[in-house]
Structure formats: C-alpha cells, structure tokens
C-alpha cells in the first residue's frame, strides 16, 4: 500500500532521528511514510492502541496526541542578538561514500582510518570507534596510537583503552580547539553521513551497527553530575499541518554527484533513520489547547544531546585516569606516521584528512551555531522556520539550519569557516519573534 502521507518538520529524515542540526529540514523535508510504514497502515492512525502488536503498527499510530497536561510550563527563551557570547563555525567532514574505515599500511605501521562522519560525528562516535578498535585488536598490538583529539579521536582512544590497550593520542589540537566542539551537539546519526548511491547498501548495515552501539554507550553517561549527556523535549513548530505539502527536492543545480562530483539535491543524501526507530522516541502532536506556542501546529519528541563542556572534560579525565598519554604533534604527510612509536594507528583527523591524506572525496559542509548565555530554567529545544534553538548547559545554542530552503544542500561545498554574524542574527530573530508572542492564548 502506498501511503501518501508526508511527515513534516521534526526531522526531515524520519521522525525518529530527532535532532536538528543538519537533520531538521524544518519546513522542507518530509518523511516518506511509504518507507516507514509500508504495509502497516492497516491499523492506521486510528488503530486501537491495544491492538499494536508490532513496532510498525505502533509507529503507524504516530499521529497520537500528547496526553493533556503533559506539556509543562515552559520558561520562554531569551533570544536576542545582543546576548550573543560566541559564534562558532565548522566544516562537516562529509564523504559521499560514508566515513572511511579501511586499513592501510604506511611503512611498518598499520593505519586504521576513522574519519569523514559528516554531520553525525558526535552521534556515531562510539560505534565508529568500536569498529576501528576491533580492526586494531585483530592485530593484537599492545600499544595503539590515535591521531586526532576531536570526538572521533577521543572516543577511539577510550574504546582502545577499554579493550585493554595502552593508548597515546597524537594531535595538533586538544578538544576545545577542534571542529567537534563547534557542532550543535545532538543525536543526529544520519545527518549528511553519506549519499545513498555511492555509499551503497552495505553501509546501511554498518551505519545501523554504529548507531545502535553509540546510543547504548551514551546511555551510560546519562544522569551523571553535570549532565554530560542529557535529554531535552524538542518542539517542532509549523504554521501548516505536518502531513501536508509536496516533498521538496532541495535542489541547488542540475545533475547529481555521479555526473558533477558534487551532490546537487537533498534527495541524494542517505537516510537510515527508520532502521533504528525501535529505540528512538517518536514525536507526538500537541493538542491545540496544550500548545503554548503562538503557532498552529506543534509536536514534541525527547531528544538526546551532548553538553560539550561537561562531556568533553569527562572523556578527557577518563582517558588520563586510564593511563592515557597525549602528545601534541602535527603531521604533514602520511609518511610522518612512521615517526609514531606505536605499531597500530587509528587515524582520526576529521576534515583535515582532505589535505593530510589527500582525500579529495571529503566535501566541506559549512555550519554555524550562535551561543547565548546558559538558561538553566529553559529545559527544551525548538525548531521553527528553518532555525533551531536548544538549551544546553554551556549556553542557549541557536543554529540556522535551513534558512535558505535547500535542505541537506545547505552549506555543501562551502568552506568559508568564518563567522557570519548576519546569519546568526537572522536565526535568533526567528525565536525573538516567536517568544515575543509567547505563551499563546494561555497567558
């Protein structure tokens, strides 16, 4: 049965992948329900709850409305451009074929690559590290080197320690100076992680393995002092019903990756979210009397997110406590790896692999976040009109996710890694305007 019911908002790639960063193509990307619920709509949105006997059946009833009274009183966000404390810009290390995880020999060293995680590096880090460390472990070394100290390098190093190896990190920069901490920092595991065609069906399996493994590992960091990992209710707002509207193509030019060497449309980007929807909280609609936002339609989903400060420091102290060493060193060519003492090297330079390893398949995808002072009484996130706001322990983060209505193509090929204040102010204005009219009708 072909279900022509498009899900809109929350995440363009499937409701289950909360997340915004790249993921939320707030007005433009609709979920292809066909993919999600093929054949399962017999029970449909009206199916009796007692009859759900499978995940798809339950998911098909997704238009469930939140139980009345479960929307807490929300403290409004104080979103004003004159409150900006920081603007961070980074380039997502996007590889059309998906992250590089193969094994290469450099002199007498064995190099296991672990880079190119696009807009999903935080989310997939532990699962990707587990794969890289597994490959290293099959060589039974005693000591392992890790190049890079972004989130991929750090989780690779910790995973190697947990597998019993002595680990040294060689890096140019420590975490606070890496691109990793210039991200949004929420669970967006299939955000610009690959293009469907070049990645092929095998990568979907690898992706699922990484996503499941990471998700479980992150659960181990919940509820700790300082909340390194936390959940927020994330509200996706829309002026029109979520299920309406044509599916946008998000096209920026003619052709496709195969013909031009660059993706040209959002539809080329891989979406794998449905593979893990059994473990990712689904969104629910807010009944209009419960909707505090001055916007006709709202849905809510709990979303996992990463507090960079608390989490980054925790990872680093875990690494040191387990006897890890860090050497500040910059490598200029792959041959420089021969200077490393350890026989096995996990290579995690992120976007820098484009030059360090001459990997021209790495495509920069620019992204920017603006940071306002922390608002600890604001315990939620909002997505509206192509912008995202999320209250984190280290600040209120506001990101222009898709102000230009090009979906996943936003920032693709753009390596201007420099703050654009006008963009930040535009995104902040979305929320300044929204909260000036808040709460709706209940005041």
């Amino acid at each position: 049965m072909l279900v022509r019911w498009h899900w809109r908002g929350q995440m363009q790639k499937g409701w289950n992948l909360t997340g915004f960063d790249d993921n939320q193509k707030i007005r433009r990307l609709r979920l292809k329900r066909r993919d999600l619920f093929a054949g399962s709509l017999a029970f449909g949105a009206v199916g009796a709850r007692g009859m759900w006997n499978s995940v798809p059946a339950a998911a098909a009833a997704l238009q469930r409305t939140a139980v009345g009274g479960t929307v807490p009183r929300l403290v409004p966000m104080r979103a004003h451009a004159d409150q900006i404390t920081d603007i961070k810009v980074c380039l997502r290390p996007f590889r059309p074929a998906g992250p590089r995880l193969d094994v290469e020999r450099v002199g007498d060293k064995v190099v296991i690559h672990n880079y190119g995680h696009g807009g999903s590096g935080w989310s997939l880090s532990w699962g990707s590290a587990d794969i890289a460390v597994g490959k290293a472990a099959s060589l039974s070394p005693r000591r392992i080197a890790v190049v890079g100290c972004g989130v991929i390098g750090l989780t690779s190093a910790l995973s190697a320690q947990r597998a019993g190896f002595e680990v040294t990190i060689y890096t140019r920069d420590m975490l606070p100076h890496t691109r990793s901490v210039r991200a949004n920092g929420s669970w967006t595991p299939d955000s610009r992680i690959a293009l469907t065609a070049p990645a092929g069906p095998q990568f979907a399996d690898v992706w699922e393995q990484m996503a499941r493994y990471s998700w479980k590992t992150y659960r181990d960091y919940l509820g700790l002092p300082g909340n390194p990992i936390d959940f927020r209710d994330n509200y996706t707002l829309s002026d029109t019903p979520f299920e309406e509207g044509p599916e946008p193509e998000g096209r920026t030019g003619p052709g496709d990756y195969a013909s031009t060497g660059m993706p040209r449309a959002t539809s080329e980007f891989a979406t794998y979210g449905d593979r893990i929807r059994d473990i990712i909280p689904a969104p629910e609609l807010l009944a209009s009397q419960d909707n505090p936002f001055p916007v006709a339609y709202a849905q809510r989903a709990p979303m996992m997110m990463f507090n960079f400060g608390a989490y980054g420091h925790l990872l680093l102290s875990e690494f040191y406590q387990a006897g890890g060493k860090i050497v500040i060193r910059e490598f200029h060519t792959p041959a420089d790896m021969k200077s490393i003492a350890e026989p096995v090297i996990i290579n995690c330079p992120g976007y820098a692999a484009r030059d360090l390893w001459g990997d021209r398949t790495l495509i920069p995808v620019r992204g920017q976040t603006a940071w306002l002072p922390p608002q600890p009484d604001v315990m939620y996130g909002v997505e509206y009109k192509g912008a995202a706001a999320l209250s984190k322990s280290d600040g209120l983060m506001i990101q222009a996710v898709d102000l230009n209505n090009v979906g996943e193509m936003e920032g693709v090929g753009n390596s201007f890694e420099h703050a654009d204040r006008a963009e930040a102010e535009k995104a902040i204005a979305v929320f300044e305007n929204l909260f000036a009219r808040f709460p709706a009708g209940r005041g």
Binding site: A136, A137, S138, R142, T217, P343
Partner: protein, 150 residues
Amino acid sequence: MRGSGYACRAGLGAGLLLALVQIGLPAAHAAQARTVSYYTTEQAQRGETTYQQFCAVCHGASLAGAFDVPPLKGRFVTNWSGATLDRLFDYISKAMPLFSPGALTPAQNADLVAFILRENGVPAGRTELPATDAALKTMVFPTISADRVK
C-alpha cells in the same frame, strides 16, 4: 598494507613474509600457519550456514557483535590468538548457542570454527578442521596480518 609482514607483538621484529597469515608470539605459530591447513572452503561455507541459523541473531550477520554481545572478529582475535583451537571448539560446543548450549553436533561446531577462522582472515587449506579435541590441541589460533583485517 600490501607487502611484507606485520607483527605487532614485541619479539617478532623481522617481518615474516607470509602470503596470508602472520603470527605473533611465539614464533612457532608462524611455522605452523605456513604449513597448517586449517579448514576447507566447503567446510567454512557449511559453517556460515550454521552460523546464520544459530548465531547471527546475537553476534550479528557480519560477526560484529553488539553493545552487549562480544564480536567474533576484531577484538575476538586478541582474546583467542595463541590459544589452541580445542579451547575455542570446546567453548562453542559447551556454551553456544547461548539459548541452547551444546545443541549442535561436533561436526557443526568444527564447521563454525572454520567459518570464524575464515572471517578472521585465515586462509582455507586442503584438509578439513577436525572435530576432536585431541586433533585441535595441536593447532593454534593464529594472529592476523594487516592485509586481512576486515
């Protein structure tokens, strides 16, 4: 990663020029890997069928394991290389499949070990892996060359 051998454990400095499998410590294993025929292609194929039927549900179709199930490749090699194969055969025979330990026949378990060896980069040979402890005691789980890491 093509080219000469790789031996990561200290004590095996000089690269061993083995086509497919290199051995860590002790060096005796190296000689064995060169000469020993571990299993046949058909046997590993049978093992794969058995694996997909009884083991993949937990250890994964690609032996990758999961958060709370150990992988049967990668880290697995660190756990077992250097041990004689009767140990692994015994473990699988007595403890696996977890939901019904000991349910498989010795021949099936030998096939499974053959399949696991194949998936960890050990090349096929001309004779089947035997299904008795006595015979397996003389064979060692080898370490893997970088060229064969999957």
